[in-house]
Symmetry: C2
Subunit: 429 residues, 2 copies
């Protein structure tokens, strides 16, 4: 087979090594190919490379061709994204030239930038940097492996990384396609939702704000990510049935007749029948029912189905509260925002009749900085960071308590003034 066979001991050693190598590669491949979520995948790749090359750490930089940048996800307490121009640093050199750089001592190499070590307190010794190529041999990113546990990176390390690189590239491209498709879907729904609301100044921005409130409440309730996601889509689409209501009734700015009101009420069941025609993914099948139940009331007096209590899906109960809160706090051409006390009084009166008490409870736990960001959605660049930091210390519940108190601390007074300044400001638009 092979000349090594002449030296049996040597041949056995080669076979054993090859076996180990294939074994780890197979494990790597299997562990990567089952992940479709890009962020999870990147972290798994970095772990796997570090382990297999016996290195201290590995970073994968991906090439963003449109912005001509390299970016990566790093875990520093929280996971965050870092980005830099695609020709900068050692990673940039490799992304641009396609060369493999195996540097035994970073501080002896002119391309190494010691500034990063100074900032992070890390001490870089050896570096192995390699381009990652897809099936079409295009560079899609760069591996940067730091500090081999013993000595420098070997030729065998380079070969192993090369093999892992091919596997990783295939998985990354799949995950990117999946991610692009997901973004495409959500941005389509967001755009549609915004466009529908924008047909009338009264509803402009309504669905987007209801969505932001609903996601906050769902998170405060610690619902699982999949359920939060379903509620997000359902909120964006809850009024899609208005497409089936003639504009002449929908946008009438005088008092509606009983017949007209009945026609408007149809929008909830129309949302259901439109959304039922869509083939949603398994995890999102609940969207039509949640979206259509935003006018149901827990005492059974709502519409379209007159569902009672736990017959109403939780998402629907959340939408109901957020929908009314947004309607009450919207500016009208002929009036400013209603006083926050008055808004909350209306909400409280309906709690236990229309609204589920624990949903209202969680709604009141929304932090004031977030509440202002949602109320002022579309004008967020005009919010002051320090103001937001102050508001972040209080919830809507706190605010109502403080407003009712006669004696307030200096900070409470400042917070109240800050909140009201944003809550009641006006725009000419």
């Amino acid at each position: 087979m092979n000349k090594d066979k002449l030296d049996p001991q040597n041949y056995v050693r080669t076979l054993e090594e090859e076996n180990r190598r294939l074994h780890s590669l197979l494990q790597v491949t299997q562990s990567l190919s089952s992940i479709l979520d890009l962020e999870t995948l990147l972290f798994r790749i970095m772990d796997v490379v570090g382990e297999n090359l016996q290195a201290d750490r590995c970073t994968v930089f991906l090439l963003d061709e449109e912005r001509n940048e390299l970016w990566s996800k790093v875990a520093m307490g929280v996971r965050k994204e870092i980005r830099f121009p695609a020709n900068k640093g050692i990673a940039g050199f490799v992304a641009t030239t396609g060369e493999v750089l195996n540097i035994p001592d970073a501080y002896q190499d002119y391309r190494f930038n010691p500034e990063i070590d100074k900032k992070t307190g890390y001490h870089t010794k050896s570096i192995l940097t390699m381009p990652m190529r897809n099936k079409r041999n295009e560079i899609i990113g760069v591996f940067q492996v730091l500090n081999k546990k013993e000595g420098a990176f070997t030729k065998a390390d380079e070969e192993l990384l090369q093999a892992i690189s091919n596997i990783a590239a295939a998985s990354i491209e799949n995950a990117q396609l999946y991610e692009e498709q997901r973004k495409s879907f959500i941005s389509f729904i967001e755009t549609l939702s915004t466009t529908l609301d924008a047909r009338d100044y009264i509803t402009s921005g309504h669905s987007r704000r209801v969505t932001l409130y609903a996601v906050q409440v769902a998170r405060l309730m610690r619902l699982p990510a999949k359920e939060v996601n379903l509620i997000r889509y359902a909120a964006l689409l809850h009024d899609i049935g208005k497409l089936g209501v003639p504009e002449i009734v929908l946008f009438k700015n005088k008092k509606l007749t009983d017949d007209e009101y009945e026609i408007i009420k149809r929008h909830a069941s129309l949302s259901m029948s439109i959304l039922n025609k869509i083939h949603f993914q398994k995890d999102l099948r609940g969207i039509p029912l949640v979206a259509a139940s935003h006018h149901e009331k827990i005492d059974g007096s709502g519409y379209p189905q007159g569902l009672k209590g736990d017959q109403i899906p939780l998402g629907g109960k959340i939408l109901a509260v957020c929908d009314v809160f947004d309607a009450l706090t919207s500016r009208r051409q002929y009036r400013d925002r209603m006083d926050i006390e008055k808004v909350m009084k209306i909400l409280d009166n309906e709690t236990g009749r229309a609204f589920e008490p624990f949903v209202v409870y969680h709604f009141k736990n929304i932090k004031l900085n977030i509440l202002i960001e949602i109320l002022e959605f579309g004008h967020n660049q005009e919010l002051d960071k320090q103001d937001l930091a102050l508001l972040q210390k209080y919830t809507l519940h706190d605010l109502l308590g403080i407003r009712a108190k006669s004696k307030k601390t200096e900070e409470e007074q400042r917070m109240e003034n800050t909140f009201l300044r944003y809550y009641s400001r006006r725009y000419r638009d």
Copy 2:
């Protein structure tokens, strides 16, 4: 390490075998993990298993939990789908019990149904059938491998198939997720498109029909699949800008004033600005421009941009022809369909001015069965199969020639009558 080491020759053989096994598994994994398209993936898996197990053929059946069926794609000249109840046959037995069946001689086994061999002329000898399980150990499908090249399937074959099965299951689940997301996106756009058109009886079904025509033309022009796909989405969405036109103008059933006409014309640029807000995947980035150019004319007299000739994307030129053809052939409340000659005369008059000649040329090459299916979209269950078979032999171009002839063959006469019967029939709806 291992007792075999005491017998060096035996140990080397074991190592060599293990080496080959790992090698093929690694190749299998790499070849499967890069495929995200379900159909391509299934065929690749079947090839790979056949090769690796030295078998004549392999079929992968997937479990459809909602319908409780097993299904597979098979290549018999064309690729087609087969389906049967999830507890039927040997595959059903394995899907239900989770057992592995290694049958050296099919005709000696009571579970084997020789009827299929009789139908296909194939002669089944050995069978290896194994459940495919995902990471959560749930059965998601069944492998059925037929006719080991020499003798029966061995224990080693079973082990190899088991290893491939795990890899295949991960890839299949990814491909299924991707496919579900894709279906979700297209069904959302189709539903929206249909809902928008349905606001007015005049436009009801319009975008769906324009889409069907446009896809036909694109295919007759042999455009690549990606471009056909882009044209499909752009066609479904070409009138989305009508969301920004007040219904009182959009649905006015008297003559429009000049001002009103200008307002209506805005829908094309509104389609562009709405669609530009959506984050489309790379291959679909051309959608906004194609959708927005369905009223451009090649002589530059169209709107919204007054583009000329090749400034108009090909997709836009296709939409322009299909859009007008559908408008001219739609039924109105106050009249039946316009004569097909009159329709084509209007189209011909505008060819070279509004329409690109080679697009009109390909439009006329649409087969009459397809033309009728599109014209009668929504009533397709009322079409007679024999009629369609007759119509399939002729194109729109043929029809116009035959209509102009004084002497027609008996078949031509029958075809003409058949076409006109569908073209001019009425519905009460």
